[in-house]
Structures are given as structure tokens and as C-alpha cells.
């Protein structure tokens, strides 16, 4: 199966780029460092779309790559199915645009090669988590991504950033410990680490205390990684004090890859989502939605406000996936994609304001629309999108989630989603009013719009925001439907993987 050969490239390319840049970065001009990283992330983007094409052509629902030529479940395998491919496309779109944005934005920090090294290590971790078919391998990649993100949060090395990074590192390590213990218990129970084989063994064994126990451990661990509400305390600090391009990566894709994707993959495809787990997920999702959006309303620090909204929007995603119906999962995954796009855009906007006006405080800025037209325009689109104004992409995904709630009879959750959406709108109207409308302050007379590379990244993301709703059209819907099918098939994941292995 030659098509499967592209799967390890998602790990090889960023890993090579990371260490290559750290090796040669000291000797070459920073322009060349930009070119190397831009090329590498562009290659990853191409490959993720190519994966979509290969997966569409081949008759199986999954492609399996055997590392070292060893047959799974004895060797480690990498799996590319609809869900992995969906996540790969999401992650690599954001990564590519964030790299473009960083060309100019990261100039104000001293050590650009080190930034790219850590950035690509984080990307290695995320791509690895997505493509791996082995539970312990997932843990290793998760740690690679987490540890590089701890370092990236502290990249500015100011007191506030170090404190946030320390808090994040502690909470992240606690989460990793829970996940690790969960994996150890599952390994003890099933005697295998391959996810597909584990699903097969678990469905054959009679259920006992181990599975609910492990479910709780994973809920805590991945709940911490994805910052659901009782576990969210680290996120507002970490995401608001990182450099803006890193905040965009963290809020846009990291919490979704390490948190939501891993949670969904393990609960739906390996352990098998029971009614109890699903109702806990729905409850946590609805709680995150409401609590975080109320906390966000009173924030004056722009990035902190956005960080609270990340928690709230992750609540939507988890609520949708937790419904367990195909429509709910479709809504959840679609919202995951949309949220990656508009939340990255919002963080890049906040970085652009910081770049030009050197402030993050909403009370400080006023009337920036006159001086920063591109930032203001893209921010308006992203704000409307996150608040769910039609016809932008956020509207469709929220609508699907609310419809799915009603369809399953959870009127309360549907109502909660509507209320959270209205409060989101209120909070972003505040952003618009204080940041972009009103009279221009005297001290901002001299500021200029950001450089073209940053504009390009923001405008591209805004375009995806506008066109995102088209993904629901029949000709594009395979992108989402393939991902939904993987989750709603549940433990048939094992059949898909072994079918692809034996072929």
C-alpha cells in the first residue's frame, strides 16, 4: 500500500525541521530560518490535503503504516482514517498560517531559531498524537507537545510569563500523570497497547471495575488538557501570556488535539462510550460553556478574554461530541474546526494590536479601526463568527449542536447553548466597541498597520471563516462525514484497522 507511506512524514518533517533549525539557526540570517520553516509547514499542509485525496481513493476506511515493518499489535502502527485526516488538515492549516504570521511578529523576541525549534517540536507532538495507533505512543507524543508548549508559554521570560508557564507545567504534569496511570491500568487489563487491539480485547472481555476506573482517570487527564471547567484554571494565564502566535496555536489546536481528539478517540474507539461517560461529557461541556463565558464577560485584558472564550467554545465541542449521535458528533467536530479557525484569527488580531499599539488592555485602546483597517475587518468577521451570526461558519456548527440537543431531547442543554451564544455575542460587542470603535486616542496617531505577512495570515483565516459553512455542502461534506463515521462506528475502529493491516 504505497499511499500509507505519507503517514510517517507528518512526524518526520516537523521533527527534522526542528533540529535542523536549532543546528543551523545560529549561523544563518533569520530570513533563511523563516524560509525553511515556511517551506516545511507548507509541505505538511500539502501532505495533509494529499492524505485526504489518498483516503478518498482507497476502498478501506483507514490506512495503516507499520513502523519498522512489524505487524500490529506486536509493532507500533500509525493510522490515518477520516478523523485523523480531519485533525491533520485543521492543525496544519493553522500551523502554516501561524508560521507565516510569525515571520514578522516574532521579530521583537530575541531568539527566532529557538522559537521555531520549539514550535516544530510542538507540531511533531500534535501530528504524532493524531496519526499514532498505539496508546503509549500517543502518551509520548502528548508529552512532546505539552513540554514544548510549556517552554513556548515562557518564551518572553518576563515574570508573568514564567508564572503562567510554571502553573501550566504543574497542571499539565498532573494531567499527564493521570493519563499515564490510566494507560498503565488498561495495559494491565488488556495486555496490549495497540489501540485497535485494545478495542478488540475490551469488547471480548466481560466488563469489570477497571474500565470505569480508567474512564475517570482519562476524563480527569484529558479534561485537564482540554481545559473543561473544573480543570480550567491554568488556561487563562497560559494562553494570555504566551506570544500571540503561540496563543493561536495553543487555543486553536493544542487543546483540541491533546484534549478533545484524544478523549474522543479513546472513549469512542477504544473503551467504547457508555451512557454514563457521555452524560458526564455533556454536563462538563454545558458547564464549561456557561461558566467560562460568564467569566469572560468581566475581562478587560483582550487575550485573557479570548482565553476564557476558548474554554467556553471547547464546551460546545465536548457537548456536541458527548451527545453521541451522528448529528451531535458532526456539530462537535465542525465546531472544533471552526473554532480553530476563528480563535486563531482572534489571537492573531490581538497580537497585531499588541504589535502596533503595544497594549492588551481594552480600556487603553480606542478607535483603532482607522489605523488598523485589516485587523479591524478580520476581527469583526471572527467576532461575528464566534458569536454565531449567519452566514459565517460558527453559526452553522452551533446550529447543528443545538438541533442535535433538541433531537436527543436535551432541551436544557440546547437552551444553555443558546444562552452561552448570546453572552458570547455580548462579550465580543464589548471588544468591538472598546478596541475598534469610538474616537482615536492621541497616542495612537502614529501607529501603522501590521506588515504584509501578518495581514496575509489574518486575511486567509478570515476567508476560511466566511467560506467555512460550505463544508456542509454535499460536494465537500466527505471531509466532515468521514470523521463523524469513525467516531460513530465506535469499536468497529478495530475492524477498520485490522482490515487495512491484513490487506
Amino acid at each position: 500500500m504505497p499511499g500509507a507511506n505519507i503517514i510517517p512524514l507528518f512526524v518526520i518533517i516537523p521533527l527534522f525541521t526542528a533540529f535542523f533549525i536549532s543546528l543551523i539557526g545560529r549561523f544563518i540570517k533569520s530570513t533563511y530560518v523563516d524560509i525553511v520553516s515556511g517551506l516545511s509547514s507548507f509541505l505538511l499542509l500539502i501532505f495533509s490535503f494529499w492524505g485526504l485525496a489518498i483516503l478518498g481513493r482507497c476502498p478501506e476506511t483507514a490506512l495503516v503504516y507499520k513502523i519498522g515493518g512489524w505487524l500490529p499489535p506486536f509493532g507500533i502502527c500509525m493510522v490515518l482514517d477520516g478523523l485523523s485526516n480531519f485533525m491533520l488538515v485543521t492543525v496544519n492549516i493553522i500551523a502554516f498560517l501561524v508560521v507565516i504570521y510569525s515571520f514578522n511578529y516574532m521579530e521583537k523576541y530575541t531568539d527566532k531559531p529557538k522559537f521555531y525549534t520549539l514550535f516544530f517540536l510542538m507540531l511533531t507532538g500534535m501530528n504524532g498524537v493524531i496519526v499514532t495507533g498505539d496508546l503509549f505512543n500517543l502518551f509520548v507524543f502528548l508529552e512532546i507537545a505539552s513540554i514544548s508548549s510549556y517552554a513556548l508559554v515562557a518564551f518572553g521570560t518576563e515574570a508573568e510569563e514564567l508564572e503562567a508557564s510554571f502553573k501550566y507545567a504543574i497542571m499539565g504534569s498532573v494531567a499527564s500523570a493521570f493519563i499515564f496511570i490510566g494507560i498503565a491500568f488498561l495495559y494491565g487489563f488488556t495486555s496490549t497497547l495497540n489501540m485497535a487491539d485494545m478495542a478488540r480485547v475490551l469488547s471480548a472481555k466481560p466488563s469489570n471495575w477497571a474500565v470505569p476506573f480508567v474512564s475517570v482517570l482519562f476524563l480527569m487527564g484529558f479534561g485537564l488538557k482540554s481545559a473543561l471547567v473544573p480543570f480550567h484554571a491554568w488556561l487563562p494565564d497560559a494562553h494570555s501570556s504566551a506570544p500571540a502566535s503561540i496563543s493561536a496555536m495553543l487555543s486553536g489546536v493544542l487543546i483540541k488535539t491533546l484534549g478533545v481528539y484524544a478523549l474522543a478517540r479513546i472513549f469512542f474507539n477504544v473503551i467504547g462510550a457508555s451512557g454514563t461517560v457521555l452524560s458526564v461529557l455533556m454536563f462538563l461541556g454545558a458547564l464549561s460553556m456557561l461558566v467560562a463565558v460568564i467569566l469572560a464577560l468581566s475581562q478587560w485584558d483582550l487575550k485573557r478574554l479570548l482565553a476564557y472564550h476558548s474554554i467556553s467554545q471547547i464546551g460546545y465541542v465536548v457537548l456536541g461530541i458527548g451527545l453521541g449521535t451522528p448529528l451531535g458528533i458532526l456539530g462537535g467536530l465542525f465546531h472544533l474546526f471552526n473554532h480553530s479557525i476563528f480563535k486563531s484569527l482572534l489571537f492573531l488580531n490581538s497580537g497585531a494590536i499588541d504589535y502596533s499599539a503595544r497594549t492588551r488592555d481594552l480600556r487603553e485602546m480606542s478607535g483603532l479601526r482607522k489605523k488598523l483597517p485589516v485587523t479591524a475587518g478580520t476581527n469583526l468577521i471572527a467576532s461575528m463568527s464566534i458569536a454565531g451570526i449567519p452566514p459565517l461558519n460558527g453559526f452553522f456548527s452551533k446550529l447543528i449542536i443545538i438541533l442535535a440537543c433538541v433531537q436527543k431531547g436535551h432541551i436544557g442543554y440546547a437552551l444553555a447553548a443558546v444562552i452561552a451564544s448570546v453572552l458570547t455575542l455580548a462579550s465580543f460587542m464589548k471588544v468591538q466597541k472598546f478596541a475598534f470603535l469610538g474616537p482615536l486616542k492621541e497616542k495612537y496617531q502614529a501607529i501603522k498597520e501590521v506588515p504584509p505577512a501578518m495581514k496575509f495570515a489574518m486575511v486567509s483565516l478570515a476567508t476560511i471563516c466566511i467560506l467555512g459553512g460550505l463544508l456542509l455542502l454535499p460536494s465537500f461534506s466527505f471531509f466532515l462525514n468521514n470523521a463523524v463515521n469513525v467516531l460513530s462506528d465506535g469499536r468497529d475502529y478495530a475492524l477498520a484497522v485490522f482490515g487495512a493491516v491484513l490487506k
Binding site: 533540529f19 535542523f20 543546528l23
Partner: protein
């Protein structure tokens, strides 16, 4: 510089270090080279190799250790080691499968056997050894800058 009584620890420690540090380094190399035959391997051997440099730093002070292995060299070697490991895996990628062992495996239990595994062990030991040394160095430099 090595015999300056003002820098580093007492004469007893320095003498013992001078006698043992070579043996520690040698033991680390032994563990790495026999990684595919006996317990241990790249990681464990790399840690022991790093410990020999840390030992030097503790006994004689930062400057003596840095003369043997400077900061820039350490960070370059670390990247090179990671790239070495990746390229060993890539040899397999172009010869069949990622990480596959394509070199002649030789006779079992011989020192030169097991294909790419001893090479991977070498790369890992370099990465781990230099990396641990760099972490220790970073902590020392941080402590010094705090004191100033």
C-alpha cells in the same frame, strides 16, 4: 586552573575526581556500546556520560568542565544527535519501512551485530548525555546570574 584551591571543592574531592572521572566516562561508553547485548543502552549510558562531566563541574568548577565541552558545542551536538537518530530511522524509511533495521544483523551476541540498533544507541547516548549536561549547565548559569 585545575589546581587553584580557591575554585571548586577540597583537595580530597579533586584527587578522587581526577582518579574516577575517566572510569565513569569509560563505563558510560561501555554501557552504550553493549546496549543491544546487556541491560542498559543509549539512555542509561548517556546519563552516565553526562554524570562524568557533571562530576568535573562539581569538583573543579564550571570553567574546567566548559573547557572540555563548551555551551555552543553542547547545543550543536544535541541537534546533531537528534538528526542522527532521525536519519537512522530514515534509512529504514527509504529501504522499506520507517525505523526498519536494514543493515546486516550479524551474529547474535557479538559486539558488532543487531544492525541499526547500536547506531541508534550511539545517537541516543549523545543526545541524552549532552542534553543532561546542558540542563545542568543552564541551572548553574541561572544560579550564578541570580547571585550577581
Amino acid at each position: 586552573m585545575m589546581n587553584d584551591p580557591k575554585i571548586g571543592m577540597s583537595l580530597i574531592v579533586k584527587t578522587v575526581t581526577r582518579l574516577t572521572v575517566g572510569l565513569i566516562l569509560l563505563f558510560g561508553i561501555y554501557i552504550v556500546l553493549h546496549g543491544h547485548l546487556s541491560p542498559g543502552g543509549g539512555f542509561a549510558g548517556g546519563v552516565i556520560i553526562a554524570l562524568s562531566f557533571v562530576h568535573l563541574m562539581l569538583a573543579f568548577g564550571k570553567d574546567v568542565a566548559l573547557k572540555k565541552l563548551s555551551k555552543n558545542l553542547a547545543s550543536n551536538l544535541e541537534s546533531i544527535a537528534a538528526l542522527m537518530f532521525l536519519s537512522i530511522a530514515l534509512f529504514g524509511f527509504f529501504g522499506g519501512a520507517f525505523f526498519s533495521n536494514i543493515i546486516n544483523k550479524g551474529v547474535p551476541f557479538q559486539l558488532f551485530s543487531a544492525g541499526t540498533i547500536p547506531l541508534s544507541n550511539l545517537a541516543i547516548s549523545l543526545k541524552v548525555g549532552v542534553g543532561l549536561f546542558a540542563i545542568f549547565l543552564a541551572l548553574v548559569i541561572l544560579e550564578e546570574s541570580k547571585r550577581k
